[in-house]
Symmetry: C2
Subunit: 333 residues, 2 copies
C-alpha cells in the first residue's frame, strides 16, 4: 500500500503534504505557537537570545538509547544550553527519501515530541521535503533552536591555567553504540547511547558560579573539543588517564573497532571548565543532577605545553592528543 511509505507527493506542497503535516506532525507537536502564521511562528521572546542549528544524518537511524528523532532534539537544545541559553523553541525540517516507511516516521516523530517535552522546548515551525529513491538515506533531520540567554559571559577566552576540567559522565557511549550498531555487533551488548538533553546539568553547574565555558563533546569527542579551547592560546590541558570515566562495554567496543573513546562522540555529556575554587561545588552539583551521577574531574588547565592537549598516562608518560583527523566516525549524529 502506498499509504505505508513516503512518496514524492508528500513533498510536492500539495494535498499529500498537507495530510502529512495535519495528520502526523501537527498532532504530535500540538502547542499554541505552532504554525499560527503559516510559514513562520510568532514568538514573544525578550533578548538576548541564543540561536543554533544542526542537521542529523546518523546511520543507523534507530539505536539503543535513541533514534535520529531524539538525537535531533538533544543535539540542538544542547548547543543552546552550552552557550548558557535556556532552550525555548525548535524548528523541525524533515528530509525524507521516497519509500521511507511511514511507521518509522511516526516512531521518530513521537520520539521528537517526547524529547522536546523533556527538554522544555516547543516545536513551533517546520518543513518537509522528499527526494527520490537513492538520493537520500531514509531520513535526515534539521533542527534549529532559539534559547533565552540565562548565563552570559561563557567563553573559551576566559580559561586560565589552574582551571579544572570536569566531564559530566562516561565517554564515548553514543559513538561506540552507533558504530557497533552499524556493524551489526550489538547482540548481547549492554551498549547504549547517552543521548539526553543537557540544560538541567548545565544549569546545575552554572548556578555554582566560576564556570568559564561549557561544551558538549559530540563529533570528534572529548579530545577534539578540548583542542578547540587550547588552539592558538598560551594554555594547555592535561588529562589524567586514570581519571577518565569509560564504561567497560564502550572500551571493549572501541578496542574491537580500533577507536579511541577520547575521540568518540557523546550526545548527553558536557565538559565544564571552571575556576579551581568552584570545582568541588560544580562536581557535586553535576553528580546530584539526573544524568550527571558519574561526573568526574578529568584534568587541569596548565601552561606547560601551550596550545596542546596532553594525556598523562598510567605509566607516567605523556601523549599529545591532537584534533580528530580523518573520518573516524562518519554519520555519528
Amino acid at each position: 500500500m502506498t499509504n505505508d511509505i513516503v512518496t514524492l507527493d508528500h513533498g510536492s506542497g500539495g494535498k499529500k503534504t498537507s495530510q502529512l503535516i495535519e495528520e502526523l506532525l501537527v498532532p504530535a507537536f500540538s502547542n499554541d505557537t505552532l504554525s499560527q502564521l503559516g510559514d513562520g511562528a510568532l514568538l514573544d521572546l525578550q533578548g538576548p537570545l541564543i540561536f543554533s542549528t544542526d542537521s542529523f544524518v546518523v546511520d543507523p537511524i534507530f539505536f539503543p538509547g535513541g533514534n535520529i528523532g531524539k538525537l535531533s532534539v538533544c543535539g540542538t537544545v544542547n548547543d543552546l544550553a552550552m552557550c548558557g541559553g535556556q532552550p525555548r523553541y525548535l524548528s523541525l525540517s524533515l528530509l525524507l527519501e521516497e519509500g521511507f516507511p511511514l511507521d518509522d516516521l511516526r516512531t521518530i516523530v513521537s520520539s521528537i515530541a517526547q524529547t522536546a517535552k523533556q527538554a522544555g522546548v516547543e516545536i513551533v515551525t517546520g518543513d518537509t521535503k522528499v527526494v527520490e529513491r537513492g538520493k537520500g538515506d531514509g531520513i535526515y533531520i534539521n533542527t534549529s533552536g532559539i534559547g533565552t540567554l540565562r548565563y552570559p559571559g561563557l567563553s573559551p577566552e576566559a580559561i586560565q591555567p589552574g582551571d579544572v576540567v570536569i566531564l559530566s559522565g562516561t565517554m564515548g557511549d553514543h559513538g561506540a553504540t552507533v558504530m557497533m550498531a552499524r556493524n551489526g555487533l550489538l547482540e548481547g551488548s549492554s551498549l547504549q547511547s547517552d543521548c539526553q538533553p543537557l540544560w538541567q546539568l548545565a544549569k546545575a553547574a552554572l548556578d555554582c558560579g566560576g564556570v568559564r565555558v561549557l561544551r558538549d563533546p559530540t563529533r570528534g569527542g572529548v579530545a577534539t573539543t578540548l583542542n578547540e579551547f587550547t588552539e592558538n592560546r598560551p594554555i594547555s590541558i592535561e588529562l589524567d588517564e586514570d581519571a577518565l570515566p569509560v564504561r567497560g562495554a564502550v572500551q571493549a567496543a572501541c578496542d574491537l573497532l580500533g577507536l579511541d573513546p577520547l575521540y568518540c562522540a557523546n550526545e548527553g555529556k558536557l565538559l565544564a571548565i571552571c575556576h579551581p575554587s568552584s570545582a568541588e561545588a560544580v562536581l557535586a552539583a553535576l553528580q546530584a543532577t539526573p544524568g550527571g551521577q558519574e561526573a568526574a574531574v578529568i584534568g587541569r588547565v596548565t601552561d606547560r605545553y601551550p596550545g596542546k592537549v596532553i594525556l598523562n598516562t598510567f605509566l607516567g608518560g605523556g601523549r599529545v592528543l591532537s584534533k580528530l583527523t580523518g573520518a573516524q566516525l562518519p554519520r555519528i549524529c
Copy 2:
C-alpha cells in the same frame, strides 16, 4: 586531488571540518555575531519575533536566475517577510555528498553571502554534515531564520468577501525554469527563475494598510496557496484567467511539459489579499518597487463558492482549481 572534492573527513567534526568552516564558510559570511559562542550565536533582539525553517533540495542545483544557495536564502527570508517580519538572522546547515566539487560549494556559498546581503540578513550560525556517495545528491541546504515582527495581525482569517487578490508579478517562472533545466530543454530559452528576496515588496504593500494576508506561492503555486485561504471557510476566491500574468516562455515551457503555471512554483512573488479600499495603493506600491513592476490584480474574494478557488475563463466558463495533487514538480526548491 582530494582537495577538490568534499570527503567524509569534512563531516567528521575534526581538522578537515574546521578547515572547511574557517577557510571557506566564515570568511564568506564574516559578521560580528557569527560563531562568537561556538555552537550558537548570541542575538540581541527584542520580541515579538518570527521564526521559520526551510530545507532545499532543488534539482538541478544551478539554473538560470539562481542556484540552491540563492534559493536557500530567499526561501526562508520570504517566509519571514510573508508573516510581516523583517528578516534579521539566518542559520545555514549544509548536507554534502562525498565527492561534491569544492568549487561548486564555493560558488554556492558566495551566492548565499551575496543574497543574504541583498536581503539584509546575517548568517550567524551553521552546521556541516557529509554523507557517503549515493546517500545524497550533491548538496542539500537548510536555512532557518529569525525576523522582527513589524506588521502584526496578518492572517487568512481576516480575509472577507470583496477583498482583492494581487500578485506581485508573473507566475511560474521558477518552476518552469527548473523543470526545463532538469530535462535539458533550456537551450535558446529566455527562461529565468524569479528567485529574489521579498521583504522590500512586502514592506511596500504593508505600508499601504488594509493588507489581510501575504503569502509567497512556492511549491504548489498560486492555485494551491489560494486554496489554503479558502479551505473550510465561507469564502471563495475567483480568478480572472485573462488577468493572470504569465510570460510567453513560461507558458510555452508549461505546454511542452504538461504543466499549469497556476501550479508552478514561484520564488520571488507574493500574493497580497487586501481590503478593496487599499487595492489601488497596494498595486501602485508594488509596481513602484524593484521586482514588482508587473504586479497585477488577479481576482476577488467572494462568497459564491464557499471553500473553493474558481478560475473564470476567457470563454465565460468557470473551473474549480483544487490544491495540487500528485508530484507535479518534485524537488523544485
